[in-house]
């Protein structure tokens, strides 16, 4: 290959990525699509193309219910996490003296495994958990609170804690990037602190907020560890159903179909979100 031409250079440079994406993303995706159009017989797989799985997925109320719940839980996690992360990121970017130390502290949860962190929440929120014991010892309650664990609330809380750094970092970067003279200019032109925040800081950090939302929302919809450990029966999500299809139920084609539908729903919601958030940003003047 003549590496001197620009085109050849481009092909050569992108080849590793192309091979990687081809084998590890595109090929598995195609296999998934293929599986979704096959049929599980008891031990074998019938490879006649059919849309029966899709029909089943669309008519089964359980699928729709779990999908909507997954999206709502993920949306709640996203809103809670970003709302809590913004002030932290703002503090580190604007006020904190030792930024590196603060950023290091924020990554501390990652020093232990994800699974351990979920179990930790189980210990904190459980019937005989840290929180209930403490409240009982203080005499604030007479019997353990049962609404803490095994429901949507526990799922949202656990996921929000787990994903917090992923929200803080992009928002931190976008706040850090703002030229301080822009805020001075806003003040000079008569804006109060709140007005400068709403008319300058917020629109300029919108890309960071959108990035944080996507980074949290997309993986959260498909999370199955947290709901299965702290979600109880009320907190089950679509990923738990998919897991069952590939495990106990042994219906890979339906599992593949559900996976694809989950992917499409998430993609659709994400696109609608990004477009409306950007539209909102453009209306701020």
């Amino acid at each position: 290959m003549n590496l001197r031409s620009e085109g050849a250079k481009g092909v050569a440079l992108s080849a590793p990525a192309t091979v990687y994406v081809g084998f590890l993303v595109a090929a598995p995706l195609l296999i998934l699509v293929a599986y979704s159009m096959w049929t599980q017989t008891y031990v074998d797989i019938d490879r006649t193309p059919t849309l029966a799985n899709y029909r089943e997925a669309f008519t089964d109320p359980l699928v729709r219910h779990l999908m909507i719940r997954s999206i709502l839980i993920a949306a709640a996690v996203t809103v809670v996490t970003v709302a809590l992360a913004y002030p932290i990121a703002y503090f580190i970017a604007i006020r904190a003296q030792k930024k590196t130390l603060w950023l290091l502290l924020i990554t501390i949860p990652f020093w232990s495994s994800y699974l351990l962190r979920v179990f930790a929440w189980k210990l904190i929120l459980g019937f005989n958990g840290v929180l209930n014991s403490a409240l009982l010892a203080l005499g604030l309650i007479d019997e353990p609170l049962t609404f803490l664990l095994y429901n949507e609330f526990a799922v949202v809380l656990t996921l929000a804690h787990a994903w917090a750094p992923f929200a803080i970092l992009p928002i931190f970067v976008s706040i850090q990037k703002i030229d301080p003279s822009l805020l001075e200019a806003a003040t000079d032109l008569g804006s109060s602190r709140i007005e400068s925040f709403l008319r300058v800081t917020l629109p300029l950090t919108l890309p960071g907020i959108i990035a944080a939302c996507l980074v949290i929302f997309i993986p959260t919809v498909g999370d199955y560890v947290t709901p299965s450990l702290v979600g109880g029966s009320d907190g089950k999500m679509i990923a738990n159903l998919i897991q069952v299809q590939f495990g106990a139920a042994n219906n890979w084609p339906l599992g593949a179909t559900l996976s694809l539908l989950a992917m499409l729903s998430v993609g659709f919601v994400a696109i609608v979100f990004v477009l409306s958030a950007n539209g909102f940003g453009r209306r701020i003047r």
């Binding site: 030229d179 003279s181 001075e184 200019a185 806003a186 003040t187 000079d188 032109l189 003047r285």
Partner: protein, 367 residues
């Protein structure tokens, strides 16, 4: 020009920890004048401007604007607007919305905002560019947007922080004239901070020269150039040849001085310097020294030297001439006038000065 003072700064001081950025600054700015704070970087001129704007509170002293004490009045409530060094154009807004930003804070009617924005853009010759994105603007256009955004607020005082430093030379010169014209037409007081002496001289009615946090001299450009108050000001503004001089006689308005180059020359005393009793320093501007092959006629003092360096600037030629008994060569600048003067390195020449060109710079303190 009316004699009302739009800004009064009295004994203003600003300390950051142990560092004193501005010390004992007292300054009165007249309504409608173009005033420049000139000084090398780090001399406290920007801090002084920011104290007028309200971005920094003085540690001590008082700032009043239009008779109103500014103590405790936040930047967003002051009748000043600022053009920032970086221009600080809001990148998420287009030109029109940038200019309208401050008007929207005042809750004006939509139609009035539109009128005033387009009027302001016309004024800076950006008419019709309302919908241009901030990132599509050239450096000069950004500067004009920043100007329009501040002027549309109709401030009592417009503050400019090194407004032209980001532009290239040609554009800078053009903007100097335009800003001057705008200021004249609007009659708004402009306070500009700059480290560029030419910029300050071409644009300002008066200039305040600052060194190390202190305001050293406030005067018109002409007076600053002709009667600087000390050696520092004399060398910061324009070029200057310095000669130590012995004073042989002191009269009411004149001194008789002797230097290595001339003897018993009677020169005018400089009212801006502190008069002492010892030896003094005198200065001569390079363009006020005549250079000739033969002893020139009609000069109050003439002396000999050897050309050691020639620098051709186009519009004029600079000669460095070594004079017996002086540590530094004397610099003489001659207009490039049909090559009437053309000396080479090593040529022996005569230099001539008029006594009016010899500036009294006061007592010769060892520097």
């Amino acid at each position: 020009m009316t004699e009302t003072n739009i800004i009064e700064m009295t004994g203003v001081e600003k300390r950051f920890g142990t560092f004193t950025a501005v010390s004992d600054l007292s300054l009165s700015l007249r309504e409608g004048e173009f005033f420049s704070l000139l000084g090398p970087s780090g001399c406290g001129k920007t801090t002084a401007l920011r104290m007028i704007a309200g971005f920094q509170e003085p540690t001590d002293g008082r700032v009043t604007i239009d008779g109103q004490d500014m103590q405790g009045i936040a930047a967003n409530k002051r009748p000043t607007n600022m053009v920032f060094q970086s221009y600080a154009i809001f990148p998420h807004l287009d030109v029109g919305d940038n200019v309208a930003y401050g008007l929207r804070n005042r809750g004006l009617k939509k139609a009035e905002i539109e009128n005033r924005v387009s009027e302001a853009l016309e004024m800076v010759e950006l008419g019709g560019l309302q919908r241009r994105r901030a990132n599509e603007l050239s450096g000069g256009q950004r500067q004009r947007v920043a100007l329009a955004r501040a002027l549309v607020m109709r401030p009592k005082v417009l503050l400019l922080d090194e407004p032209l430093s980001a532009l290239d030379k040609k554009l800078r010169e053009q903007m100097q004239f335009e800003m001057r014209r705008l200021q004249r037409n609007l009659g708004i007081t402009f306070v500009m901070v700059t480290h560029d002496q030419y910029e300050a001289m071409t644009m300002s009615d008066r200039i305040g020269v600052m060194f190390d946090g202190k305001l050293v001299q406030v005067d018109s450009p002409e007076t600053l150039y002709a009667k600087p108050c000390n050696r520092e000001v004399a060398s910061f503004i324009g070029e200057m040849n310095f000669l130590p001089a012995q004073v042989s006689a002191r009269q009411e308005n004149s001194l008789t001085v002797t230097t290595t180059c001339f003897e018993n020359l009677k020169i005018e005393t400089n009212p801006n310097v502190r008069q002492g009793y010892g030896d003094i320093l005198v200065g001569i501007r390079p363009e006020q020294i005549e250079i000739a092959a033969k002893q020139p006629d009609g000069y109050d003092a003439t002396f000999r030297g050897d050309v050691v360096n020639v620098a051709f600037y186009g519009e004029n030629v600079h000669y460095h001439v070594r004079v017996e008994g002086l540590d530094r060569p004397v610099s003489a600048s001659v207009p490039n006038y049909f090559h009437m003067v053309d000396f080479r390195e090593g040529d022996s020449v005569w230099l001539g000065v008029q006594s009016a060109s010899v500036i009294d710079l006061g007592e010769n303190e060892p520097s």
